[in-house]
């Protein structure tokens, strides 16, 4: 075992990874099941003389991030589903103003207040631009505490590189469970690049004024801005796709699942193997951009797909878009905070294969 491997809750590992990535400001509001993250940041950000504020609402928290990000500082917020809904206004503004930030959703079941158990019911909201207007932002879905830490750390770099919010879409299970994790190295704040577009420090360079804003009342200009942003989205779609494939080549049926559901599918695959049945897993890690092209390739090879989700069927729409009717796509989901079991997922795969 590496000496630096620590046993941590997902929520805490996300917090520590953010601090190590150079997060200078955290703003949050209490909501289960992500409270350990806010508490972790309170303790460790304040101890390092960085900014931590328990805001009066999620609405305020995201706008504090907006202000901090506008100065070029690495900053973040976290919440769970109902709180993320409240942040959507701010996320739309951040996308309109091209502000980098990290937003963590430790998702719970809905709609409404719903329950506090894990869910993947926020897929649509996360990947379709959950607020008003034409926009997208990166969405990364970890399957383990280690990956939650790694993706959070990387999210700060991606946010800066692409000047957009990056969302970590976890769920209550990943937030609450403990696993071993090796944390990434601590970044020196002074080593982080200065952002030429940010507000403040004008005296250093006597540059022209910087205005961080999303408003533009001239239709032709706003259209041009949106088109420029979408050209950037195209670049992201070709360079930031992330996915994992397990046993896809041998398998007749390929599970498509992310996060916790993917772990369940891996368990079902092990059990299938013991029974002499080859199943595969295609696990999108970037939910936006979604790896459509690779799924289309697999469809062309004659695979059939079973999208397994902790929802009533959301990502399955992307899977169907990807395969364009060239392969059968089925769906199996549990919702309301119920996590599917390996046994029931395997049973569904067998039913579909008639084996």
């Amino acid at each position: 075992m590496p000496d630096d491997k620590r046993l941590m809750k997902g929520n805490e590992a996300i917090g520590e990874a953010a601090i190590r990535a150079g997060c200078r400001a955290y703003f949050g509001y209490p909501i289960t099941p992500q409270n350990e993250l806010t508490a972790y940041m309170a303790k460790h950000m304040l101890a390092r003389k960085r900014t931590f504020i328990q805001a009066e609402s999620e609405v305020s928290a995201i706008n504090m991030v907006y202000g901090a990000a506008a100065t070029g500082a690495r900053s973040m917020t976290s919440s769970s589903s109902p709180g993320i809904s409240l942040k959507q206004e701010g996320i739309s503004y951040a996308c309109g103003a091209d502000l980098p930030m990290v937003i963590v959703n430790v998702a719970r079941s809905g709609p409404g207040l719903g329950g506090i158990s894990p869910s993947q019911g926020d897929y649509f909201q996360s990947t379709r631009g959950g607020g008003h207007g034409d926009y997208y932002h990166l969405v990364l879905a970890p399957k383990s505490v280690q990956e939650a830490a790694d993706l959070t750390y990387e999210a700060f770099d991606l946010a800066d590189r692409w000047r957009m919010p990056v969302m970590i879409l976890a769920d209550g299970l990943i937030g609450q469970m403990m696993e071993g994790v090796v944390l990434p190295p601590e970044r020196d704040l002074a080593s982080l690049p200065r952002k030429g577009w940010a507000a403040g420090h004008q005296a250093d360079t006597h540059r022209p004024n910087n205005h961080v804003t999303s408003i533009n009342l001239v239709p032709a200009e706003l259209e041009a801005l949106n088109r420029k942003r979408f050209a950037r989205y195209d670049e992201i779609k070709s360079s930031e796709l992330r996915f994992e494939e397990v046993n896809v080549e041998k398998a007749d049926l390929v599970f498509v699942a992310y996060g916790t559901s993917a772990r369940v599918c891996l368990g079902a695959m092990e059990a299938a193997k013991r029974a002499g049945l080859e199943l595969g897993l295609f696990r999108p890690i970037s939910l936006w951009p979604f790896p459509h092209a690779r799924l289309a390739e697999l469809a062309a090879k004659g695979k059939r797909f079973l999208s397994v989700e902790m929802s009533m069927g959301q990502m399955v729409e992307d899977v169907r878009l990807a395969v364009e009717g060239k392969a059968p796509v089925d769906f199996y989901g549990r919702c309301g905070g119920v996590v599917p079991t390996e046994e029931e997922v395997l049973a569904e795969a067998r039913r579909l294969l008639g084996k």
Binding site: Y66, G67, T71, A199, N209, N210
Partner: protein, 257 residues
């Protein structure tokens, strides 16, 4: 020869889009003059609200951040926490501050955030076209109060005195109310702004200057008439002066109060 009067450096030499008789232009100028006097032009950031003054970045010659409606104090919190040695101005109208952003201003003030809010109170929604504001006076007409603000029968509530409301909070150190309807009040308002900015740069706590400001267009008056209306109707309800002054140093207290 000394230049006795000129255009402030921190304000661009351009014509504004504000209506004739609007108070924003004067208030912008006061802010710019004080920034020049404190030599903070390249160390200032303003957060502009949704409302008529959303265009303030066309006029102020320094950096700006423009957040969502009412969220200006939250955004200013983020800006100031990251730039503690900068002058951060949270410019807000009455809809932004006292309606949609009530939670944000109360909690920013209560945390003692070390920026200065310039609260422009013209008792009406300007940009959207004359709707009732939280500060609209009882009986004052608006497109959404066509017979005048009626607190009881129509359930339209009462005008909010923001300075007095915030004065109870521990984080507020300086709350003053000025007006820009005549030269004397303009000069006084500038003193309040300067005191607030200086206090901010000393890191004393939350500071705010409320400015009673005419909106002839939406009040449906001529500019001169609007200034008189402000004097006769707004000032009696919204008394001018330092509503709260807990700044360190006796010299900062208003003289002969």
């Amino acid at each position: 020869m000394e230049l006795a009067y000129g255009h402030p450096k921190s304000l661009k030499p351009v014509q504004s889009k504000y209506c004739p008789g609007c108070g924003h232009g004067v208030i912008h100028r006061l802010i710019a003059e004080v920034i020049d006097e404190l030599a903070l032009q390249e160390r200032s950031v303003i957060t502009n609200p949704v409302g008529c003054s959303i265009w303030a970045d066309l006029y102020f010659d320094f950096d700006s951040v423009q957040p969502a409606h009412g969220r200006t104090p939250a955004a200013s919190t983020g800006v100031k926490r990251m730039l503690p040695d900068h002058l951060v101005i949270c410019y807000q109208g009455d809809g932004d501050l006292a309606a949609i952003g009530t939670a944000e201003i109360i909690h920013a003030a209560n945390r003692g955030e070390k920026f200065t809010t310039i609260f422009v109170n013209n008792a009406i929604y300007g940009m959207t076209g004359g709707q009732m504001a939280p500060t609209t006076l009882v009986g004052q007409k608006a497109t959404t109060a066509p017979e005048g603000r009626d607190p009881a029968e129509a359930g339209m509530g009462y005008p909010i005195r923001v300075c007095e409301l915030l004065a109870t909070l521990g984080g507020t150190k300086y709350l003053a109310r000025g007006a820009v309807n005549n030269a004397a009040n303009v000069r006084k308002t500038k003193q309040y702004i300067k005191k607030a900015f200086e206090a901010q740069m000393r890191g004393e706590g939350f500071t705010m200057v409320e400015v009673l400001s005419p909106c002839p267009t939406n009040w449906q008056m001529q500019p001169v008439e609007a200034e008189e209306w402000l004097e006769k109707n707004m000032i009696p309800f919204y008394p001018l002066g330092e509503i709260k002054n807990e700044l360190g140093g006796a010299e900062t207290k208003e003289a002969a109060k």
